[in-house]
């Protein structure tokens, strides 16, 4: 093959390496960020979303408790951050079971029965014949109110989305990585003096890294511009999540720039050896 033809082919291969690397890196960023339930969960905890729900739920349950002549302090004992966290976790793990927005109140009911029984014992109310039925009924009613007030149905929507897209994105990452590896091998094999091939691979890597940084930031601003939730606390959780996950695109791209630096060094090393 003529030198000019080889050069043009190498440049075309460099562009294709850049595109396949961009696809692969974007897949990794999306897989490790937007499709990362763990990061979304952490955001909910770190931004105190569950704590903000607790007060609201307690207020509503205290009204119900008052109807059943139960002191408000009992509700404080039953409804905790960890109880809401457990409910949220159930939805994260098995979103299809909670698609209609319902909440598993078994843990709540169990806790409520224990707390109410303890309270009745402390107050020597144990001679009441239907006490077990009363406690169970009260716990059930409180549980219904709890389920109505617990506003975490959105988790099933997000988890369902993650479960739906994760396998496809995994395949996408694998395929684009294979294409990237094959093209890189091709461009290196194309040249008798390997440092020339490494140089063109380096062009592809630096271009792919820069493209990844640009696209990830465009994607970030695009998604942030359309996210719009009425609940300010929740909206802040979502925007922080999107911002932090897609900002990773910058770091991933910078790793590519670093790899390019290593390849430049490798090129000059191979060149000096071939001379």
């Amino acid at each position: 093959m003529g030198r000019k033809k080889k050069r043009i082919l190498s440049m075309v291969l460099s562009v294709l390496i850049a595109l396949s690397l961009t696809m692969c890196l974007m897949g990794l960023i999306i897989r490790g960020g937007l499709l990362n339930k763990g990061m979304f969960k952490d955001n909910l905890v770190r931004s105190n979303y569950y704590s903000s729900l607790v007060d609201d739920i307690k207020d509503k349950l205290k009204e119900t408790a008052a109807v059943y002549k139960l002191p408000e302090e009992l509700i404080d004992k039953i409804v905790t951050d960890s109880l809401i966290y457990r409910n949220a976790n159930d939805i994260f793990e098995n979103p299809s079971a909670y698609e209609d927005g319902r909440v598993d109140t078994e843990a709540f009911q169990k806790e409520a029965v224990e707390v109410i029984n303890d309270y009745l014992k402390e107050n020597d109310v144990d001679n009441y014949s239907d006490i077990a039925a009363y406690v169970e009924k009260t716990a059930r009613l409180l549980a219904i109110k709890y389920a109505e007030s617990l506003d975490i149905g959105f988790i099933s929507g997000y988890s369902g989305f993650v479960n739906r897209y994760t396998p496809a994105v995994n395949v996408y990452i694998c395929v684009s990585f294979i294409i990237f590896a094959v093209l890189t091998a091709l461009v290196i094999m194309l040249h008798k003096r390997k440092y020339r091939g490494v140089r063109y691979a380096g062009y592809g890597i630096i271009s792919g890294s820069i493209t990844t940084i640009i696209i990830s930031q465009i994607l970030k601003f695009r998604i942030l511009s359309i996210v719009n939730n009425a609940d300010i606390t929740y909206n802040s959780v979502v925007t922080t999540f999107i911002d932090s996950t897609l900002s990773q695109g910058i770091y991933v791209g910078l790793v590519g720039v670093f790899v390019f630096g290593i390849l430049c060094y490798l090129t000059s090393f191979l060149k000096s050896r071939s001379n």
Binding site: A18, G160, I218, R222, I226, V227, A230, Y234
Partner: protein, 211 residues
């Protein structure tokens, strides 16, 4: 030109071409990623569209309940929600139906009229996200538009599948016309058909003030 300079220029050319091609491919308006992934991601994270404060509408009602001092929303305004709770439809309603708006919710064509104006209201949405529940909606279902200036209900009279988007929007009475791509959910094939839901007004105030 010395060799080093040539190599540098070659590297810059490859980088510029790659970045331009990559970014252009990503920015293509109707690629599957933009339409489907971003739309569904946004949809999956939306929690609540309900307007809890209708006092910001700027409109007033007269003694007969009709709306006076009403101002038409401007393009891109999220001026209400469109719901059919029993069938799971719950989408924010925007004025305008550009690609960007349809990623955020349902979009009302600016060529049509607003609820309460007494003429046809044409609202579109993506069948994979906000208007996915339309596939469950049948004749006689009730659809509610909760606008900032009032609540309007409509009953589904007809469900039609048409070719293209050339539907008749000339009517003497107020109708709500919902449309989305058909067949539902088949985003990976080219679709020319639309599912169109024609609904008649059941209740809601009438805009009778200055426009």
């Amino acid at each position: 030109m010395d060799r080093k300079k040539k190599l540098f220029i070659r590297g810059v050319v490859v980088t510029i071409v790659s970045v331009a091609v990559g970014t252009a491919l990503f920015m293509l308006p109707h690629n599957g990623f933009n339409d489907r992934f971003i739309g569904e991601f946004n949809y999956s994270l939306i929690k609540d569209y309900s307007y809890k404060d209708s006092s910001q509408s700027g409109s007033e009602n007269d003694q007969a309940g009709n709306i006076v001092n009403w101002n038409r929303p401007v393009s891109g305004d999220n001026y209400g929600t469109i719901t059919c709770e029993v069938k799971g439809l719950n989408a924010p309603l925007y004025y305008g139906d550009s690609d960007d708006i349809l990623l955020k919710g349902a979009g009302q064509s600016e060529l049509s009229y607003c609820p309460g104006e007494g003429k046809d209201i044409v609202v579109g949405g993506h069948d994979t996200t906000f208007f996915a529940p339309l596939k469950n909606i049948v004749k006689d279902d009730v659809i509610t538009i909760s606008a900032k200036y009032g609540v309007f209900t409509y009953k589904v009279d007809q469900v039609n599948i048409i070719d293209g988007s050339d539907f008749n929007i000339e009517s003497s009475a107020e109708r709500l016309i919902l449309y989305t791509c058909y067949p539902f959910g088949e985003n990976n094939v080219a679709r020319t058909q639309k599912a169109v839901y024609v609904c008649s007004k059941l209740s809601g105030p009438v805009i009778g003030g200055n426009d």
